[in-house]
């Protein structure tokens, strides 16, 4: 498995993915048979109404969760059969996550929040590099409680990209941000996708964001509705929010 695959090589391959949550008597079908291929270096936007299974799908792709049924491969790695330790190694080497609620560690500064990830990576950027990538070079020693929401999300992105991951999985990265800040965050994601060739998946509720994607995947009620391939990608600045 190379860190950076050749263009158009399949990175993720999912077949017949289902996920059922049991909550006592009731069963919640979060995914009902998802077939999906993601290609190296592409930027995919995942759209869908609330509860349609977006986060569930992303978590399974990122090796945080396993499906109830179906198959997922990351290159040659079978994420369904993989043991706990293999999944941990997979996440450590290949995946960067950005979460909707930032999930920074409150007791660590911006720099340290990035360092906690770079310390266990093979060929990372320095935390300072990663933070200047998101324009936070002058907030290095601020604690999360001393940063705005947008700044916290940018720290989270720096943390996700600092290890130069092969895939970047973002769950509503702009969900809690205003349009100006949101666009700044998207610009960072776009630049990283472009400059580092990182395969990027962005979940959003905001259909406007779809314009910056290579492909837009619509999810509804646990199934893939349609997949739209954008002929031209818009720059984040041009997005209608």
């Amino acid at each position: 498995m190379n860190r950076h695959n050749a263009p158009d090589a399949t990175v993720f391959k999912a077949r017949g993915l289902t996920k059922v949550y049991r909550m006592g008597e009731v069963q919640v079908h979060a995914l009902r048979g998802v077939d999906l291929d993601l290609y190296s270096g592409e930027l995919v936007v995942l759209l869908g109404p609330s509860g349609s299974g977006k986060s569930t799908l992303l978590n399974i792709l990122g090796g945080l969760d396993t499906p109830t049924d179906g198959q997922v491969f990351y290159g040659g790695l079978d994420l369904v059969r993989a043991r706990e330790a293999d999944l941990t190694r997979f996440r450590r080497r290949f995946v960067g996550f950005v979460f909707q609620f930032y999930n920074l560690i409150p007791s660590l500064t911006a720099r340290e929040n990035v360092a906690i990830v770079t310390e266990i990576s093979d060929d990372p950027m320095t935390p300072e590099e990663a933070l200047s990538l998101v324009n936070l070079q002058d907030r290095l020693d601020h604690f999360p409680s001393q940063l705005s929401g947008g700044e916290q999300q940018r720290v989270a992105i720096a943390r996700a990209v600092a290890k130069r991951p092969a895939v970047l999985l973002c769950d509503e990265p702009t969900g809690a941000l205003d349009s100006t800040t949101g666009i700044k965050v998207l610009e960072v994601l776009e630049r990283i996708n472009r400059e580092l060739g990182t395969t990027t998946v962005v979940i959003t509720h905001n259909a406007g964001i779809a314009a910056m994607a290579d492909r837009v995947i619509h999810l509804s009620d646990g199934r893939i509705g349609q997949i739209i391939k954008n002929q031209t990608k818009a720059a984040p600045r041009e997005l209608s929010w």
Binding site: R92, S107, E112, I120, P144
Partner: protein
Amino acid sequence: MRALHRKLLRELWQMRGQALAIAVVIAGGVATLVMSLSCLESLRLTRDAFYQEHRFSDVFASLKRAPESLREAVAEIPGVRHVETRIAAGANLDIPGYDDPATALLLSLPDGRNADLNRLYLRQGRLPEAGRDREIVVNEAFADAHGFAPGDRLAAVINGRRQELEIVGVALSPEHIYQIKPGDLFPDFERYAILWINRSQLAHAFDMDGAFNDLVLALSRETRAADILDRLDALLAPYGGLKAVDRSDQISHRYLSLELDQLAVMAQVFPTIFLGVAAFLLNVVFSRLISTQREQIAVLKAFGYANREVGLHYVQLVLLITFLGVALGMAGGVWFGQRMAELYRDFFRFPFLEYVLSTRVILIGCAVSTGAGLLGTIAAVRRAVRLPPAEAMRPEPPPTFRPTVLERFGLQALFSQPTRMILRNIERRPVKSLLSALGIAMACGILMVGRFQESAIDYMLAVQFGLSQRDDLTVTFTEPTSHRVVHDLQALEGVYLVEPFRSAAVELRHAHRTFRTALQGVGAGGDLHRILDADLNVLALPEEGVALTDYLAEMLGISPGDLLEVDVLEGRRQLVRVPVAGLIKEYMGVSAYMEMEALSRLLGEGQAASGALLAIDAGYREEILRKLKDSPRVAGITDRNTAIANFMDSMADTVLIFAFFSTILAGSIAFGVIYNNARIALAERSRELASLRVLGFSRGEIGYILLGEMALITVAALPIGFLIGRGLTAYLVKGMESDLYRIPLIIEPGVFAFSTVVVLVSSLISGLIVARRLGRLDLVEVLKTKE
């Protein structure tokens, strides 16, 4: 430093108040452990060093009279390294300015020099010089009790002749660390002395020139005393030898061992309890910490930290807190241990104290507390390890609230909104509320354990000396005497009642177990020494058979109806079998009782009394004592108040010293637990309370919501604490049982009151600290950050 370690240290600093409180609890446990183990080890070491340096003998024998030439024969028994013959005799003392009767054990010293075995340790003065026949050395406890120093004089009636003696030295002896008069339960330093005197003078007084009546042996290292005893007994039998004993039956050694064993039990029980509480507390704190950090844990895992690394992270936090506690506890334990050992050194009158803190004790302290720390947190850490990252990423579902029981019954109108919030909160999280209550309850429980002994001992005395032994004076005769003496005593002015008793030294046997004690003959229908059954009702002794103290029956493994073998160690020295007629309740000593006439029949003698119990008019006490003292038949007099005082000064002291130190440590633990509970409550609720402030609740109201909940839980915890305390007390009481005495499981109201007060005061202080913090709550800060 790695970022993960930074996180560790910052979070530790952030929770420093709590961490310190937990550390204090751990420190309390470690301190108790180190204190008791090091004290115990030091005392054993000191005793052994004293034994060795002053050549404590291995075998002890007494006999009527044997020629000095027998010594050679004894020395030839294989394994005997050294033989020392002595003369031992009793004497009545006449102490200037002291009216109570006092007796002494006279022991010979080789003329003009120290003994070879059981060598004296001189505290003051010197040994008697050869040829000076009035010079004596006295034991230190007796000298202290009367303020004697070298140069002081006293008189003794030795073999019927009164002699003036001069104290030239004050000494300690490895043979008499525990200075107790044979037959007594407790030492009486004022009325019982040990006097060392030149052998030729004692020989002269008792017509023992070229003879001896007491013998001590030192054995070679590899020899076991048990192998020697029979051969020695055979050699001494023709000379009126009583059974020889080894160290395990030597009074001083045996009692000292019993006390040290008791200390060892407490050294086990208290730290176990304290560390258990610490583990419990760590469990509560870490469960909470890990549930508030579940999202952080998820992030770490999402970015590729292995489960093991996450687990290790929290284990490190546990270890840091534990080590802080261990360090504090070690320091405290050494300090307390040294103080306690010094108290015991003075109490046991060791000439010196070798305080040691062995690596063994340090290792045990570290291992046990680390073990407790890890055991207490393993469940929480395991939860962190097992937490599926996707799961943890979802914010915790909002808690489900239901109307409280009160509200469902339509009683809500009785309560204000804040009060209803308190009730709902408690009902919403019953497990958490229960855990908090349990923590406080444990604090309450351990306070009771440290505290109960004093009042239990009072109760024990009340039963022993109020219900059972009700005489004012116990008079013992020099030898069994006819009952006519009773009439002489009755005739004394101020004597209300006289009841004779007979007491015989026996060895009791059942199966393979043996025990030496006194078989007591008590007159039927007597009022001054009543035998009590398990319910403390007066028991009439049966006409035949023997009644045993329940503890003795247990030791011998015998029950009513079984046949008991009784080896009478005096008079005609016969071996008889007697049925066990019943069991009796006694908290002190282990005696066997028979109806007095039945005992006389058993001993094959007519009516004879070993002594008599007297009830007297307190106004005549001095006069009666003076008359008794002049009577040649009277060997000794014990009065009840002195017996009680002696008990308190001796056994009770060792227990109470320990209880005192333990109570201090228990208090610090209790405070730690309660303070922690309050801090946890504050941390868990500050967000919610800040929101309430924003919504317009006043400081007073949110303070009431938080502190009201704590108060309610504290009050609910007290009864649980009483139950826990009772359980722990029962455990301790069971462990401390010995043939000297058994502390009854009686918890006086004062004990409950004491622990309640400590718990309430701790709660009050914790509440005030929390209230202060609540007042300074930064609303913006709290609401901005997620936990």
